[in-house]
């Protein structure tokens, strides 16, 4: 057990957990931030995607001991009022079906737009190919990312 001071969504959180606990389970079980989802546990589906110093990472495979002082952003902290251009586009395009994977999709897309504000359709596909949507909302995911890129 070790003590961690984490910077998440602009706030500081403190917690005592085993060093090898993945960030995903620290967020969900210990800090009550459940917007980040468990899908596979082996970084294959993208449901657990968060930002670590602005880069998209799979929180299911990132031990808490590796987070250090880096800033973490989860879906809860992507925008204050839930109105990030991607969130607005997700509503506008009416993307979600079951919705379970969508936080991970949005976080992956947000990291892409930060690096590349005007991606091509091919670049969107490449960036989000690691995120599985079992309902098959892929067309709308692509459409929403491209829509958001015109507004940010």
């Amino acid at each position: 057990m070790a003590h961690y001071k984490l910077q998440i969504n602009g706030h500081f959180y403190e917690t005592d957990v085993e060093q090898d606990t993945p960030l995903l389970w620290v967020l969900r079980d210990h800090l009550g931030l459940v917007g980040t989802k468990y899908g596979c546990g082996i970084a294959q589906c993208g449901a657990c995607t968060v930002h670590l110093n602005s880069a998209a990472v799979r929180s299911c495979s990132l031990p808490i001991s590796a987070v250090g002082t880096k800033s973490v952003v989860t879906i809860e902290g992507l925008s204050e009022k839930g109105d990030h251009p991607l969130q607005a586009a997700w509503n506008e395009v009416d993307v979600a079906q079951c919705g379970y994977c969508q936080a991970g999709q949005i976080m992956t897309a947000a990291a892409l737009l930060k690096k590349n504000p005007k991606p091509t359709s091919e670049q969107v596909d490449a960036a989000l190919n690691g995120n599985i949507c079992r309902c098959g909302t892929y067309h709308r995911i692509r459409e929403a990312v491209l829509l958001a890129s015109t507004k940010s």
Binding site: P22, C40, G41, G136
Partner: protein, 722 residues
């Protein structure tokens, strides 16, 4: 329009009554036999002893609340059901709140999600509920003004009296309306006057989903709750011989390790503690009775034997099939096989249970809350009304959550450890935990006469725990004079269950690929071939016809028109059509050669689901169904080695991804027929359309799924960028 999700029934009832006055109507969403619509007063609302599964409440401050009892798993029912009520009510949709209901009343009927049946079952009832409230509000206004209701008009929740220039919001009329006798013969709208139905309405839960709110079963946490994972036998056909849990029990954060039935549950204070500890539990297994430890190669052999079995169950027999085949000029005989498939909803199975001495609390995602509660009641030998079940949003279902195994297991564990516990399945547990789409093999035979007419047709379906896999009354039954359909089932320890579009998810592909090959042999265009058969079914039917010939013909013609069938240069088109779950869907897949390799570019879909309720949701049901059908036909397979599933997670089990989806062009027939369901019907035709297009592009016929492992398909790419 706002949404409240995780509400207990009591909270809802308070909410409905809190406004003080207003109108609250109790009604049933789906029950045909239940009590008719009633006005509910505040006292009986709060007493909570009313047997309605839905309520429509209009508060004096003009908030309209609709109570949604059905499980929501992405089929968008939580949006489309209230739309139907609001349509007949002529409500202002922006003032409508949708509240998810817990399972708590005694007289539920069909509070489940499965079979694409929710809207077909509920359509009339929902319309009637909205129309009844509207009529009562109109009567209240007429009474106020001392005039007849016929001089009133309604627009967006405002009642207008043109003559006096007076108008009232529904809220202003709600309390008076609650004193009006409930009319029993309300007039429903003429369908051509629908304003909301048929438009694209956004999912009522969008904002919650895209901001990460706790909506799903796995998101449920309670102070003092324990976490558990269960090790089930690794191999089907085995049982526990011995368990050594000493090392696991000594790990930090572990509360207990308990064995029940063939399960070893590791219980602890966090998900990670439990995940780590389960890895050090040592369990020895032994064969269960005489069960064999089956491998996929064994299944291949069983199928070959079963196809020759004399012990078949005849499902449909028309005319004299043996004579027809004996005199045939040409016989085409082909076999098709599919593997087992796990459902893989993105949210793995999970459930919270707290078994107390005075009752049981269950919280989680299920497609069948009523069934799950009854199964738990049976297990614990208690009355179902001692159990509350709070339904969360479902992170996908695809049929897996029709079963109650994971609910019962959580309740049993809670009763053993006497504590509130959330049982979590890892992806590996979910993928290896059974209830699969059964592996099936079909043999089709067609007899053509010298004029290339289809004079005989045989289908034998053999499956592993598949039930009856033949859907014997579907097309082309009725269009062939001499026909024999039979099936044989093999009982295996591997568990199977309903998987989105049960049976037809593969049968449609096999049949449509076969008919394509028969049409080619008969030197006929594949679409014309089917249309001729339909013509025959219409004019001179053989036996019972249980599909609507005209509706099937209409989707075929719409798909042909929208795809410019046969008119496109350098594009290989493949056709497929299928009737399932009361709806009709035809598809044309288009393959182009890119960089000298075939690439699936587009699928054109023509669907007849009757009236489209929510255009946005309906489009996505079609596209999602096609993506589901395409992905699994192309890539997915669960194989076994000595009873153990060989694929356990997404690194070895392939699901379709963003880059691989082709353009999907959706068209609705929209014939004004009452809605007939859309959660499943778009999936079955996809594999056939794609296989038939691949044949045109490559000359290679596909007989087994997944396609990607079949010889001759090397280099095939999917997606518009392929």
């Amino acid at each position: 329009m706002t949404v409240l999700s995780k509400t207990t029934r009591r909270d809802f009832l308070k909410l409905a009554a809190a406004a003080g006055g207003g109108l609250v109507l109790g009604f049933h969403w789906e029950s045909v036999n239940a009590a008719s619509i009633q006005v509910i007063d505040e006292a009986s609302l709060l007493a909570g002893d009313i047997n309605f599964n839905s309520y429509l409440s209009i508060s004096p401050d003009n908030v309209i609340t609709i109570f949604s009892p059905n499980p929501e798993l992405g089929q968008n029912i939580k949006t489309s059901f209230p739309m139907i009520v609001a349509e007949e009510l002529d409500a202002d949709w922006s003032k409508v709140k949708v509240v998810q209901a817990p399972l708590d009343t005694k007289k539920y009927e069909r509070q489940l999600t499965g079979g694409s049946g929710a809207i077909p079952h509920s359509w009339e009832r929902l319309r009637k509920a909205g129309a009844t409230a509207r009529q009562m509000l109109l009567e209240a206004a007429a009474k106020k003004l001392n005039i007849s209701t016929t001089s009133l008009t309604v627009n967006n929740g405002i009642v207008n009296h043109a003559e006096s220039g007076k108008s009232f919001s529904y809220g202003e009329l709600a309390t008076d309306a609650s004193a009006i006798a409930v009319p029993t013969d309300v007039k429903l709208k003429d369908k051509k006057d629908f304003k909301l139905i048929g438009t694209a309405v956004k999912n009522v839960d969008n904002q919650q989903m895209i901001t990460g709110k706790p909506l799903y079963g796995l998101d449920f946490y309670r102070e003092g709750m324990l976490f558990a994972m269960i090790q089930r036998p690794f191999a089907y056909g085995t049982k526990i011989k011995s368990v050594d849990s000493a090392a696991a029990k000594a790990m930090p954060g572990i509360v207990d390790v308990v064995q029940f039935r063939n399960n070893v549950a590791v219980v602890g204070k966090s998900t990670w503690a439990v995940l780590k500890a389960r890895k050090v539990v040592k369990i020895e297994y032994e064969p269960e009775g005489s069960a064999s430890l089956e491998s996929s190669s064994d299944h291949d052999k069983f199928f070959k034997d079963l196809l020759e079995s004399k012990d078949t169950v005849v499902k449909r027999k028309d005319g004299d099939v043996e004579t027809a085949f004996a005199k045939a000029a040409k016989i085409i005989k082909r076999e098709y096989q599919c593997p087992f498939l796990p459902h893989n909803p993105m949210e793995p199975m999970n459930f919270f249970a707290h078994v107390r001495t005075d009752g049981v609390e269950l919280v989680g995602p299920t497609q069948t809350p009523d069934f799950a509660r009854n199964e738990v009641a049976k297990l614990l030998s208690i009355a179902p009304d001692k159990i509350t079940l709070e339904l969360t949003r479902l992170g996908g279902g695809f049929g897996r959550r029709l079963k109650a195994d994971y609910v019962v297991e959580a309740a049993e564990l809670s009763s053993i450890i006497k504590a509130p516990v959330k049982v979590i399945w890892t992806r590996e547990d979910d993928m290896t935990g059974g209830s699969y789409r059964p592996a099936v093999r079909y043999r089709f035979e067609a007899a053509l006469d010298a004029g290339n007419n289809l004079i005989g047709y045989k289908l034998r379906g053999v499956g592993i725990n598949s039930g009856n896999p033949t859907r014997e009354d579907n097309f082309p039954s009725g269009a062939v004079d001499n026909l024999l359909i039979d099936s044989v089932e093999y009982k295996s320890p591997i568990t199977t269950g309903a998987w989105r579009a049960p049976i037809t998810n593969f049968l449609a592909y096999a049949e449509q690929a076969f008919l394509d090959e028969v049409a080619t042999s008969a030197n006929q265009d594949p679409i014309q071939f089917r249309l001729s058969l339909l013509e025959k079914a219409k004019k001179t039917p053989t036996g019972a016809i249980k599909y609507d010939v005209d509706r099937m013909k209409a989707v075929i013609e719409l798909a042909a028109e929208k795809s410019q069938w046969g008119k496109k240069k350098n594009i290989s088109q493949g056709f497929s059509v299928y009737f399932s779950h009361r709806s009709y869907v035809a598809q044309v897949a288009e393959i182009e050669i890119k960089n000298s390799k075939p690439s699936l570019q587009k699928i054109i879909v023509a669907a007849d689901c009757g009236i489209v309720v929510n255009l946005s949701g309906a489009h996505q049901q079609i596209r999602g169904g096609v993506v589901d059908g395409l992905g699994h036909a192309m890539f997915s397979s669960l194989s076994f080695k000595e009873g153990v599933p060989e694929q356990k997670n997404f690194n070895t089990y392939r699901l379709i991804r963003l880059k691989e989806v082709p353009e999907i062009d959706v068209h609705f027939v929209n014939n004004g027929i009452d809605p007939t369901g859309l959660g499943e019907p778009a999936l079955p035709p996809t594999g056939g359309a794609v296989a038939n297009a691949l044949f045109k592009a490559t000359g290679k016929r596909l007989y087994n799924q997944p396609f990607i492992t079949q010889a001759g398909l090397e280099g095939v790419t999917l997606g518009v960028k392929g």
